[in-house]
Symmetry: C2
């Protein structure tokens, strides 16, 4: 297991961001695969602006990256972030979120690119 030591302030900042069910689940989903905004809207059954605002917070902190693919913007986890190993450790204590994406796929709502 990789280990990074991060200043308390920075850890607190990351934990504050992840101390929200929506954002924490987002990160759990992104650990499994890239997702676009409309997939999050489906998974969370929340409004698109609300989803975008959550993603913006994660992006502003550098925890996720965005990449446009045609009409969609895909988000991915930033494995280069100094807190990424910490986040991985966190996620080990949570149920796997991938079933949410599988449910999407079953409904034909998963966006596949490339």
């Amino acid at each position: 297991m990789e280990k990074t030591v991060i200043e308390v302030e920075q850890v607190a900042h990351v934990l504050k961001l992840l101390g929200d069910k929506t954002r924490l689940t987002m990160v759990g989903l992104l650990e499994g695969s890239e997702c676009c905004v409309c997939e999050f809207v489906e998974v969370f059954q929340m409004s698109q602006p609300s989803i975008s605002q959550h993603l913006r917070k994660l992006r502003d902190a550098g925890l996720v990256r965005e990449k446009r693919k045609g009409q969609w913007i895909f988000y991915s986890i930033n494995k280069q972030h100094i807190a990424y190993p910490l986040i991985q450790d966190l996620l080990k204590h949570m149920p796997d979120q991938k079933e949410k994406l599988e449910a999407l796929e079953a409904e034909g709502l998963r966006i596949i690119c490339d």
Copy 2:
């Protein structure tokens, strides 16, 4: 390493509590040893009510326990809490906080009981 899997909501709740520099440091300190309120007041240079309110949040969540020893009330980490293994993993990514207590001790402000 012990492993516990906790529901997303519960993890988010714990992370929200620890997403505050003061409370996160408190937990880091308590992982090393019990502390009483006046020690926290010294370490954080914050008002006593503010410290008490932070401790109350941690206590309400069951993350810490309190125990009166004479005129002092000592707080300790609750190793029985379902999120304790998660917290231990978190703390591994932070600098050790014990030097703060050593500094207190050097000033003769550490409260030793028993």
